[in-house]
Amino acid sequence: MPETGPEIPQVHEIVGEEVEHAGRYGKAIAVAVVVTTLIGALVAWGQVSALRSHDRADAQAERYAALSLTAAAIGRGQAQTQVDRFNLLTQEVRQADNASLFQRFGTSSKATDLLAKRWNSVAAQTEADTPGIARSQDVPYICSRTFEKSCPAANATYSPDQDANFPARLQEAMQWSSYRLSALRDGANQRAEDGESKFVHYAAALTALAVAVFLFGYSLTPNGQPRRRLYSRTATTFVVVAGIYALVQALTPLSQPPDPAATAFANAEVAKNTGDYETAIADYGAAIKLRPRFVAAYAHRAQAEYQAGIPHIGSGQDAQQTTAGPATIAPVEALDRAVEDELHAREEGSGAADLLANLSADLLYRGLLRHSLSDLRAGYGYGQEALDKLRSQQHVANLLVNTEFNQAEISLVLGQPQASQEYALAEQQLHASDVNAEFAAASALTDLNLIAQQYPALRLRTDALQAQVVHSGETYYDGKGKPYWDSPNNNYVSPVPSKVVHFGQVKAEPDPGHAYYQIPDPGNFNPDKDLLSVQWEYRDPVNGEWAVLPEVSGPVLTGQLIKYSDGSFSSNNPSYLSGTSPATCLPPGQYRVRLYANGRLSATGTATARWPALKAVRFREVAGAACVPQNWKALPSSQVGTDAYIAPDLSGGALIFGIPKQAAISYVGSTDALYTLLESAVHGLSGQLTGLQSQTKHSTPFFMSASNGQQEFWSYDHGFVYSGIGSALNGQVYVGVTWSRDNGRTADLFHALSPL
């Protein structure tokens, strides 16, 4: 018989007789090898599929990122277009109003009358065209119920009358799809991570199967035969374990985060960014319920939890913090919830620097409030991680300096020797060009107040550090890095005087809109040569610490200190209402003003504010704002140039009336003429204010920051009236009138009137 095929050695020559006669054992091994190999092939295929899923999810995430950026840009542009349309309408209405005011208070003429009518026609046309344009872009438009005849509630909500942070509400609404796409991108990234993880699991199973195949094969060789049962059993164990492991992986599908989670997240983002924290928390909760590993939802809910803990007046989108910005610290319960969410986000793998910094800050505050050293230590650890990341990032200067201060504070409380060094480093960071120094310093001073309150033994140290921080805040650097200082009378001061200033007394006299202080006895203070810094503080009603109000605090520079003929001084009554964004009124409670002269604490004054919680409102016709009770409503514009908010039962009101200075030029130069105009305006309300009687009148430097302010006090049958007139720096002559049944309340309303 002719031989076919190539010459190869005989089987027995290779493996010997033992294998040849393996019998049942050998057959079993053969079956096992076949099965193992097949399992291996399936696992390899599963591994490739997992890798492919990872790549696809990665690609999908990139697509969502690109779409999200586009949606954000387009949404911003469309929102701005609607804002521009609204501004155009407002300008046209103002043109018409100014013409009417000229007609009434200036030189009356046919041309001016027609000018007003012309601009009213233009405004009517703009008003009529705007909804159609918005509809064709499929976006909402803005309208104001105070001067537009037809204005649906859904559109009025975007107007400055209702959105204290105008135009944030519309802009946020227009960012909704971008937020949703960002959430979808986040979901795709999670899927990509899961795919990668599955790939690794399959790789482990494959390795085990490879080892098993080797052991099976080795058990059939002459060398392996004496211990073949050991090898084969070990191999079988590997196959079983790897097979089950791979099967579990195969039966566990890659999670696909549900789209409704992204929708809920987008709703939450819009709510959070418009100040509706309760709704935001509920929506983040819904998103987390649908997608339990939603890191961004945990991190952002923590921010909402913190903010929701700060006392508010009002509810939903109309809620206003009773202190602007991050002045006060959230209660422990809110900190608990925020920390829990931040830790959850951390456990789910987020290592974002802002998350770590927030977690560190929240643990710091909770640690201080609960005297928990473990919280403080943990906070320090997270803070260090955050700093490591922040120092290599850009555009994070404010977060960096705040975290530096937080680290120093923790070290101070823990008695760590590096505290002084950390404070010095943080103070140095205050001078970085992109740092909002006053806000960072205010936060650090507030924290030191909290430390002094919770750890009285550290008070001496905290007082010294506060003076150090204040002094750092009033130090400026020239282009060559050389420090310099400015006195209140705008004199260059260097070096800082060593003189210890003793103020006889300082009086804090805040009103809902302003932070006013007086220095009746300035002692040895010299505004030409001495440095002066003021820190206004509000006692946090929740935790009790003195919280620094950065908008009205800081170095006292040119024009910020008024000297009187009797030698006393006062602040120029800076408007808290004008300085905050969104405009906010000072809440009732305790206030403290601290004056630092030449880098040392020189005087402290306190006051108790007994007005009710008030909401800040903007006037439409005039660039001004006021603080009114929560239930007061805007009066639809009945007269050109006039805005008013009134109580539902008409028992009180605040009215402001603005005239362009050129139209009122005949009044501006004379105090008598100003009073004539003022009295005519107040008498215009005599139908409402029956029995009106003038009581006193005098000049005032504080009405609407006017240089020629006059004030007149009245009584009427049911209460009191305050009125004022003056020409402000913005070129308007303002007339302000407030009335109510309570004298103090009327005064508070009047004093809070502020230009914007």
């Binding site: 076919t4 493996v15 050998g26 390899a44 701005q80 064709s136």
Partner: protein, 260 residues
């Protein structure tokens, strides 16, 4: 006589007929030997098949990755163009605001001038004339909805513009039409096909995964054949048979994936 026959005890056709069991055993041995001889060749063939399928998988993967990258680039460019087109429409809407304002002023001022009379009236008339020029200029600058005025043919666009080139009230800017016009006229947007490229990339990558699976099957066949080559007895057939079955399956799958 071959050495194989010698090794098997010299059994040959000239010997007396063997018992049935012995014949069966001899047949089995013969099959074993045939299988044993062909296994190396099968290993070579399967190796080549595995290499071909692996190469196809690699090609598909490469095509898929390339198309995904092209899709990404197209998407980014497309989104950039869309932002520009939307931005152009937003600019148009701002211009439209001015156009409508100047138009109404241009219409009203001459009427008001007539009522006022005298030098002030003349001044208003001059202002109206200036506003008319500004309205026409603004109308002509609106790029994506036609509010332009043609002095040589003043009635050409009288749907939305009066015969003097001012805005005819009640025809506000149609942003949807404007965007359509902007996108249709945006040549940089033409030829971009991110979605199609993405779909093609997915298809290629899916094919790549399938080829990889088939390559894994061929590798499994190789393993089985290798064991078949080194083992004697009934197990040899077992391995060879399994390998053969698996190889046929893999080949069929390859053809299906390749030509589907």
């Amino acid at each position: 006589m071959s050495s194989e026959q010698e090794h098997q005890g010299g059994a040959g056709p000239e010997h007396s007929p063997a018992p049935a069991g012995q014949v069966e055993s001899l047949e089995k041995r013969a099959i074993h030997e045939v299988v044993h001889v062909w296994i190396p060749l099968a290993i070579v063939v399967v190796s080549v098949c595995a290499a071909i399928v692996g190469w196809r998988a690699s090609l598909s993967e490469e095509y898929g990755t390339h198309k995904e990258e092209l899709s990404r680039q197209d998407l980014v460019q497309q989104q950039q163009q869309l932002i520009q087109d939307n931005s152009a429409v937003n600019s148009d809407i701002r211009l439209f605001g001015q156009f409508a304002e100047y138009s109404l002023l241009a219409e009203q001022l001459p009427k008001d001038a007539g009522q006022v009379g005298g030098p002030v009236g003349d001044q208003l008339r001059a202002e109206g004339q200036a506003d008319l020029g500004l309205a026409r200029a603004a109308g002509n600058q609106i790029a994506h909805v036609n509010y332009s005025f043609d002095p040589s043919n003043p009635t050409a666009n009288d749907q939305v513009v009066r015969h003097d080139g001012t805005y005819k009230p009640g025809h506000p800017y149609d942003a949807s039409a404007g965007l359509d016009d902007a996108e249709n006229g945006d040549t940089a947007l033409h030829g971009l096909e991110p979605d199609q490229l993405h779909a093609a990339a997915l298809s290629e990558q899916t094919q790549g995964v399938r080829f990889t699976g088939i390559a894994a099957l061929f590798v499994a066949v190789l393993v089985l054949l290798t064991f078949g080559a080194i083992i004697r007895g009934p197990l040899k057939l077992w391995f060879a048979g399994s390998a053969g079955g698996l190889a046929v399956a893999a080949l069929v799958l390859f053809l299906i994936v390749q030509f589907s």
